[in-house]
Every structure is written in C-alpha cells, then in structure tokens.
Amino acid sequence: MTDTATATKPTGNGLVGVVPVGIALLLFGWFLSLAPAIADGQSLRFVWDWVPSLGISLSFLLDGLSLTFALLISGIGAMVLLYSNTYLAGHPQFARFALFLTSFMLAMLGLVLADNLIGLFVFWELTTITSYLLIGFGHDTEKGRRSALQALFVTGAGALALLAGFILLGTSMGSFELSVILAQADELKAHALYLPILILILAGTFTKSAQFPFHFWLPNAMAAPTPVSAFLHSATMVKAGVYLMARLHPGMSGTDVWFWTLTIAGAFTAVFASVLALRQTDLKQALAYTTLMALGTLTLFLGQTSGYAMTAFATFLIVHSLYKASLFLVVGCIDHATGTREADVLGGLGRAMPVTAFAAGLAALSMAGFPPFLGFIGKELKYAGILAIGSEPFLFASALLLANALMFAVAGIVALRPFWQKTGKPLPRTPHEAPWPMLLGPVVLAVLGALFGVNPDLLQVSLVDPTVKSLLGSIEDAKELKLWAGVNMPLILSIATVALGTALYLGHKRLRSALGRLVEAAPNFDRGWDRFLVGLKGFAAWQTRIIQPGVLRRYIFATFATVLIAVGGTMIARQAWPALPDLSDVTFQNIALVLLISAGAILTAITSSRVAAMAALGVVGIGVAMIFIVFSAPDVAITQLLVETLVVVLVAVALLRLPVLEKDGPDRRPLDAILAGTIGLSVTLVLLAVLETPIDLRLTDYFEATSWPGAFGRNIVNVILVDFRALDTFGEVAVVVIAALSAYALLRTTHPRKDP
C-alpha cells in the first residue's frame, strides 16, 4: 500500500541540513581521537587570555568528565541533526532551526569544556538563550510561547544566582580558574562563605536540572519539536546542572550540607517524577518525567563520595543519555508516522514499523535494566552505590527501588505497548516505517546500549574511569563494570525491581486514575507560575504608576529632591560648612546684577501670566550673561546670550500656543519654591567650599603657554574646544545631533506633517 503523502514530501533540506551534521561529526571524531590520551590519565588544557585585568580567560579543560559529556553532546547532536533534517523536511524555517540547534550544541560544548568560571557562565547563558529559541520554535501556539518563556525565566533566574555564587567563589579563592579552585578544596570547604556560595550555585544548578521545586518547566518544554526534546531535554541541556555539580564535586562535596541537600532533593525528585510519569498518557510527557527522575538520581549520587556512587553516576549518565535520546527519537518517528502520541490510542505498530520497534525494544530493555544491557550494569551499580551511602541506606534504597520499578513500568508503556499491543482504535494516519535518516539515530543509540552492556571494558577504560578520576581524584576508586558480580544485595534488589515493575505495568491503568485524583489535590506549581506572573506584572504596573506618572513637574521635583538630600545630607552629616566668603571687593555692579537675576527668578515663579514668565526667564539668562562679561569671558557670554534668545523663541512657540489648562489640585508652587531655594542654597555652599581649597593651576598654565606656539590660536577657549579637547567636543556634538533627531522624531510622531 503506497502512501501518497510521502511520495510528494521533500526528503531533506539540502545543504543547510547536511552541513550541521558534518560539523557535529567532525567534532565527535576529534574528541574521539583525544580519548586515548584521556584514558591514559592525562588532561588537556588550553588557555586564551580574554580580559587579563579581571582574571577572566577562555580556558578549556578536557578530562574524563568533560570528554564523556563532549562525546555525548557531539555524537547525539550529529544524530539529532540528521534526524531533524528529515523530520522537519520542507519546513520553511528549517535554516533557522539548524542554526539554533548547532549554536546550542557549540554552546553546550563550551560549557562542559570551560575551565574558567566566568567563561563557563557565558556558555551557560548561551545555552539558556538558544534553548529558549528552540523551545519557542513553534511560536505560533500560545502553549509554545508560554513554555519557552517559563523555561527562560526559571533557568535565567537560577543563572543570576549562579553568577553571584561564581563571583563569590572566584573572589574568595583568589582565582576564577576551576583547576586552581579545585586544587584548594580543603580551604573552600572550611571557608566562611562556603554556605552562601553553595546555596547560590545550587540555585543555578537545581533550576537548570529541574530538581524539585523547580521542575515544572521541563514537562512544559515538551512543546518543542521532538528532536529538540531528544537533544536538550534528555541528553544535554538539563544535564548542564548535573555537570556543574559534578565538576565542583571535588571542591565542595564531603560536607553535611552538600550531602543532605543533594540527596534529599535528588531522591524526592526521582520518586516524585517517576510517580507522575506513570500518570501521563502522552508518550513525550512520560519520557519528560522519566528524564526528571534520571536527573534526580544523578543528583542523588552526586551527594555522596564513595567509589560505588561515583562509578554509578558515570555509568548511569551514559546509560540514560543513550536510551533516553533513542526513545525520544522513536516517539518522534511514531508521531511522524501516525500523527498521535497518546499511549491509549497507539497499538499494533510492530508490523508496520519493524526497525523502529527493534530500536524501541532495545532502548526499553536498557531503561528497564534487563541484562545484558548497559542499563542493567548501571542499575546494579546504582544499588551498590546507594547501599554504601553514609546514612539511612534503607530509606534511600527503598526510594530508589520504587523509582526504578516505576521506570520499568513506564519503559513498557512507552516502548512496548505502542508496538505489540492491540487497542483496536483507529489511528489518524496509516503507519509506515520511517525513512532511514530518522531510524539511524535510535538504532545506533539503542544498539550501543546493548553492545556496551555485553562488553563494558572499552567504556570503562575510556570514559568511566577517567570520569571517576575527575570526580574523586584517582582511578583506584572506580568500581568495575561487569554483568555478573555474584549473588549480592544489588542483584536481589534488581530482581525485586523487576517483580515490582511488572506488577505496576500490569496494573497501570487503575493506578493512573488513582494518581490523577492525587495530583489534582496536590499544589500545582504550574498554575502557581501563572499567578506569579500576573502578580509580577501588577507590581510592575503599580510601581511605574508611582514613579513615572507622566507629569514633568513630578520628575523634576523627584530629581531635585534626591540631589538635595544627597548633597545637603552629606554636608550636614560631615559638618562641612564653608566659611563666610570675603565680601570686601564686591562692587556696586555685582550687587546690581545679583538683584537683577533674583528679581527675574522670583518674577518667573510668582507670576501667573505666561508672557511675563517668559520675559522674566529671559532677564535671568541675560543677567547670567552679564556676569560672564563682567568677569571677562566673552565667548561664554556670547554663547549664553544667543542660547537665551533661542530658548525664549522656543518657549514662546510652545507656551503661547498651549491651551489654557485647568488647575489640577492645590497650588504647589510654595513647596516647589522652597525646594528650589534650598537647592540653590546647597549648591552655593558646595561652591564656596570648593573655592576654599587651593586650585590646581597646572592645566591653565599649560594651555596659556602652548596655545599660540603649539596650536596657533590666541583664543584659548576656542583652542581648547576644537584642538586640545577635540575628542570631548566631538562627543558633545554627537549628543547634540542625537538630541535634535530624537526631539524631531518625537515631534513628528504625534501629528502628521501638514502640507508645505
């Protein structure tokens, strides 16, 4: 049966779809070539001084931990890019999508390789922004916009706290280089600022890795296209927080705060998320919640310091990335082929999509933890690690058991039921096998999960051991990855997991409705988010109404009052009163001028005629110009007179044509007059105080001496303006132009231009 829909659909996006895949593959190959050196125990470092005066350099460190992440990012990235080339074939904005996704991949690589705190933060924020763009790729739906904004705000707020924590960390340890900081681990743990630093950094990492209570943005981020979810929300971006905690582990772990915070947060998130995962009917949402569970588990293990825990962390990191990315891509294939993602509707796809079913089956078996898959080894190590925990092993082990059992059930729901069970319900489209670019990713990732399970030595030597070395400092503590370690507690727990998981899977429909009622009763962070945003906007509106009422008088009043309080308050606080000036050489001219200017000012304030106010303002300006003339400053005086004339003209144009305004409230002029008088008085006092100190005349002498011989000008003022300080004048002139253009634009926008 041919499907005419695929016959006419384009199968790719040309060059713009292939180039990113090439870039990712090149990066993957490059990192792979560096793997043997890392496996030998070296770590490679590359430094470029960016801002030496602030101690910020672009330094990159490649050791076991960053190599693991780098390989995961570039490898899964290559497959996701290849997949999306077909998944989004013919999409009009594909070029933009490819750009965002590639930028994200590069930013993420920068993050895991960075060795400088500030450099790491820059890449962190780059991943936040690119993931905002990617989640909001479907921006024409309300849900898409809201989810993207929510992710941006939550992770962005956490990033601000992270920056504060980084700055505290860098300044208290004396360097922003991570290698230097981690070498001083004992000092850091005993430092007075350890707790604030820890809280701030954990705020950043918990928001990024969606730990409770910052978890609510991750399920909503599923509004992104499936390849984006496969890349960001399973393998890379959300693991950035986990990466940072792992990177700081040698320097900050071992204290009680670290242990309890991470263990409790991680354990709670894991159980909470896996319970909610069972409730979902949308396959993508179910996978999102199991990602949350995995992040919780990784956080849980980062809280400890034993060899088993670190090996479990390293192994589970790889295991989870492999099967989760594979399953997300499989769900994308299902969606692409049938048009729906509802678990209740999908069934019987095994016959029509055999390769997809094969990949899904392998990935699911790894997720559920069956031998001989890598997932089984990971699970064994997890149980060994949790049993070696410092306190309350029984409690945490049972939590982990419950979470794993729920994962087992969800694996069955997501990967087995759509293919092998018959629901009898009609599907929106007739399913067909996905094209090969979309199959390559899931198959390769799932097969890797099987291969590494059967033969884990390569993985151990090249990735797991070096990662444990990064975390604990020596390879000795890494435990061995093997399929059969004898009958011990972890094996018993694994068997219990399988039993419990099967029971949950068989009864999941009944559990779903019970869970639904429970979830409705519990507080919903997502709805709280909406209320929080509404409250924030209301607060912003209220604040703006008070500070920016639109009345010019109030702005000027607020500005002058603040200046008065700052200047006058300082003078009062420091008792810095100037002495009375020497008034013996005051001439009759000076007194007359002062009286003239004061008369003009007072008249401006008290008159109620507009024409009189303008004229009085002009009198004040001319009085000031006459002061300049009396004290022999002709250039300034001319400029003042001319500016005064123009100001009077402009004010006349504006004032005389304004309509007569109604009085809006009591006469506030006395209060304004008091403020104006006090400000004038304080400025006078400041000037008198300044004049008491001896003036440094070096510049004056220099200008006098050089003006004619060096600058060929006898008018020193003008020479200063256009020759000695020409750059300043240029800046001022630029400001004049900007002001004129802005004023012109403002005047133009209110009324259209009348015909000339």
Partner: protein
C-alpha cells in the same frame, strides 16, 4: 506673523546674519567666536525667517533638510579627526598647512582644526533648525 515689514526685512536680515555667523566662525581661533557661536547666529537668522514668513518658505530657502546638515557636520568633524591618522598622529591632532609663509608672517593658515570647527558649526546650525522648524509646524 502677518507683518509685511518683517517679511521683507527678514530676507536681508537672514542673509546678513548668516554672513555674520561665517565671520564669527572663521575668527574664532584668535578672537571670541568659533563654531558653536557661529552656528547659533546662523540658526537665529533662519529662525527669524521662519517666524516672519512661515516654515515652508524657510525650508525652501534652506533647500537642504536641517537634519542632513547636522549629520553632514558630524561627518565632517569625524573626518577632520580621522585625517590626523593619515599623517601618523593620534586622533584629532591638528594638521596645519601655511600658505605663503614668510619669515615675519604666518601666511594663510589652513588646518583640520578649522574643518572640525566647520563641522561643529553645521551640527549646531542643523540641530537647532530641525527642532525649531518641527516645533513651529507642529504647534
């Protein structure tokens, strides 16, 4: 304003004021004056013209948009500063050329400083006129 005396007189007054402003510009280096003052005087002439005859006539007399005059002035000032780099000096260093220089007189001095001052003149001239014309038409 409907005063025929003002309307006729302003044409000549405006021309005299612009001439005067150029005089103030060029004399600025050795006597009181300079680019700012020249620009102010020149724009005052055209503001007078706009008040007397209306902004339409004033714009037509100006021929060029005042915003363009301001931007041209900014560009000329920048060029004057960058020209110093062509001669190997720091930005905005004045480059001087003396025509007919003899032992006892400097001859006619030409310099990038004067070009900068001309740029300042045009900026002030254009900025004030763009605001005043817009306000006159607007209100």
């Amino acid at each position: 304003m409907n005063s025929i005396i003002l309307r006729v007189g302003t044409r000549y007054l405006c021309g005299i004021l612009v001439l005067f402003s150029l005089y103030m510009l060029i004399r600025g280096h050795n006597e009181p004056g300079g680019g700012f003052i020249g620009g102010l005087i020149g724009s005052t002439g055209f503001v007078l013209f706009a008040i007397a005859c209306g902004t339409a006539d004033a714009r037509a007399a100006l021929k060029v948009l005042p915003q363009n005059i301001a931007m041209a002035g900014l560009g000329i000032a920048l060029l004057a500063g960058i020209a110093a780099a062509l001669f190997g000096d720091a930005l905005f260093t004045g480059q001087w050329l003396f025509i007919n220089e003899t032992a006892d007189s400097k001859g006619i001095p030409l310099s990038t400083v004067l070009v900068f001052d001309i740029g300042v003149y045009l900026v002030v001239f254009g900025s004030i006129l763009s605001i005043v014309f817009a306000m006159e038409e607007e209100i």
